[in-house]
């Protein structure tokens, strides 16, 4: 016993080598998962993850941790469902407790059109093998006693969809677990190492300029969420993305009061309760473009209004903390997991407000794409060129309120 001193390091943090077979830019959950699966599934162990700050300091450590796969279109449902399946074994796989808790996710309907959309989506989910059911208001009032299901509410609740296999996870643990497991397979994880230029020769990637010097590599996977357009510009590329602040909020810790996740597109907010007892709350993006990792007060007010519409009982709870992350929103609310016009340069981005749930699946398909220089069938539809062909995957309904 050493009183919590002398813990072993979870990863090595070596100085970068001069050359790697591939480099992942961005040490969030998606970048670390990509590196882990490159090493584990494709035997590429001479690789590095370069992170400009600290692991998980981006959206991975700033999100509200909701996991689900009940998306409308086949392509998205299959991609997110792959991810939920990986979540279900992730603590075992990584030998690290990511605290994945399948406490279920409810999406409320407040209008007849909401309910028609919910029924359509639930049916589509079931056809795709994604567990999903329509729940009545009576059931909701039994299952979530403090939810205001009164017919006198300003926006009465008419029902909900429910995915029982959805839930939450501990976001830091996901980054640390993937980092430790990747490190154990030989991956170099290098923090405080911002990438400042992407060097190319005759349309091919040759290396990266970084805060720790030049690193030669024939393959670069960029996984930098809100900063994707900045990295794209380094390679002379344009992306169909805009970066926006998205805020989250936690209350003071209170006794257990909510054992599931509740979201509403129409009232526009969502809430769960962490194991520590604090209410974890989120809603929409700040509408303007921003890289400032903070948002506006008007959005805070709007979010609290939405939560109190659903849960008037929380009106006396004090909020403790609030922060923002920068999300890279795509016009069809679906990610880009794609090759680019530069050979050896790949982007995994555009997850916007809802990519935490996809962390393992995103890394899994991106590793396949890098290793084979072609997408896996699960991510083939998510190429950048869908914004040229017009084959968009419109998930604005299922993406709904930002989560």
């Amino acid at each position: 016993m050493s009183h919590h001193e002398n813990w072993p390091k979870a990863w090595r943090s070596p100085e970068p080598k001069k050359r790697y077979d591939a480099v992942i830019v961005g040490g969030g959950g998606h970048g670390l998962a990509s590196a882990y699966y490159l090493a584990k599934e494709h035997g590429m162990t001479n690789i590095a993850v370069l992170e400009k700050g600290w692991l998980g300091g981006g959206n991975t450590g700033r999100n509200t941790t909701i996991v689900r796969s009940n998306y409308l279109w086949d392509e998205a449902a299959h991609l997110y469902e792959k991810s939920v399946k990986l979540w279900e074994g992730l603590s075992q796989e990584l030998n690290y407790n990511v605290m994945f808790s399948q406490r279920g996710v409810y999406s409320l309907g407040h209008t007849l059109q909401d309910m028609r959309d919910i029924e359509r989506r639930v049916n589509a989910n079931r056809l795709n093998g994604v567990d999903s059911v329509v729940v009545s208001t009576e059931e909701l009032s039994k299952r979530i006693p403090y939810l205001n299901t009164s017919a006198d509410a300003r926006y009465p609740i008419l029902g909900a969809s429910f995915q029982a296999r959805g839930g939450t996870a501990r976001h830091d643990a996901v980054a640390w677990g993937f980092a430790r497991a990747a490190d154990a397979l030989g991956v170099d994880i290098i923090q405080n190492c911002e990438v400042t230029a992407i060097r190319r020769d005759q349309g091919r990637v040759t290396g990266l300029d970084t805060a720790k010097g030049y690193i030669e590599t024939p393959k670069v996977g960029v996984v930098v969420a809100g900063n994707s357009s900045v990295l794209a510009e380094m390679a002379g590329l344009r992306l169909p993305l805009e970066s926006h602040p998205l805020q989250a909020y936690v209350s003071e810790p209170i006794k257990p009061v909510l054992d599931t996740v509740v979201m509403s597109n129409a009232v526009h907010g969502y809430i769960s309760q962490s194991d520590k007892g604090d209410l974890v709350i989120g809603a929409g993006i700040d509408r303007y473009n921003g890289y400032g990792q903070r948002g506006s007060y008007s959005v805070i007010e709007h979010t609290m209004e939405a939560i109190l519409e659903m849960f008037p009982v929380f009106s006396r709870v004090r909020m403790n903390r609030q922060w923002g992350g920068i999300v890279d929103t795509c016009p069809d609310a679906c990610p880009l997991i794609s090759k680019t016009d530069v050979e050896g340069l790949y982007f995994n981005c555009g997850w916007g407000t809802g990519g935490f749930k996809a962390t393992p699946g995103s890394g899994w398909v991106f590793a396949h794409t890098l290793a084979n220089d072609q997408p896996h069938e699960l991510n083939a539809a998510f190429a950048i060129n869908r914004f040229i062909s017009g084959a968009l995957i419109d998930e604005h309904g299922a993406a709904g309120v930002a989560h």
Binding site: S229, N289, G290, S296
Partner: protein, 94 residues
């Protein structure tokens, strides 16, 4: 709360405004003449800079006029606002 200087009404709270995205995007005069890549670029691809940006705003809960602004996407500070048809006071290319 941002204070935004509407060129018609003066300073008002951010909550009166709607953000409308990148400014100075001109609709191609002959879409049929464009390649799919050019049309896709017009519809979906954006500059999204980290730093100074030219943006279209709408004073939706005020005079309901559209106008342009130069704003920094890191500090969120406005450099100028100007009417549609005018060029940015800083004179920098968009």
């Amino acid at each position: 709360m941002l204070l935004i200087n509407c060129p018609y009404c003066g300073y008002r709270d951010e909550s009166e405004f709607h953000y409308e995205g990148e400014a100075h995007i001109v609709r191609p005069s002959d879409p049929d003449a464009l390649s799919d890549a050019e049309w896709g670029d017009y519809l979906f691809f954006r500059t999204n800079p980290k730093g100074w940006h030219k943006e279209l705003w709408l004073h939706s809960a005020g005079c309901r006029q559209y106008f342009n602004a130069e704003r920094n996407t890191v500090t969120y500070k406005f450099k100028s606002t100007y009417k549609i048809g005018e060029s940015a006071p800083s004179g920098e290319a968009s």
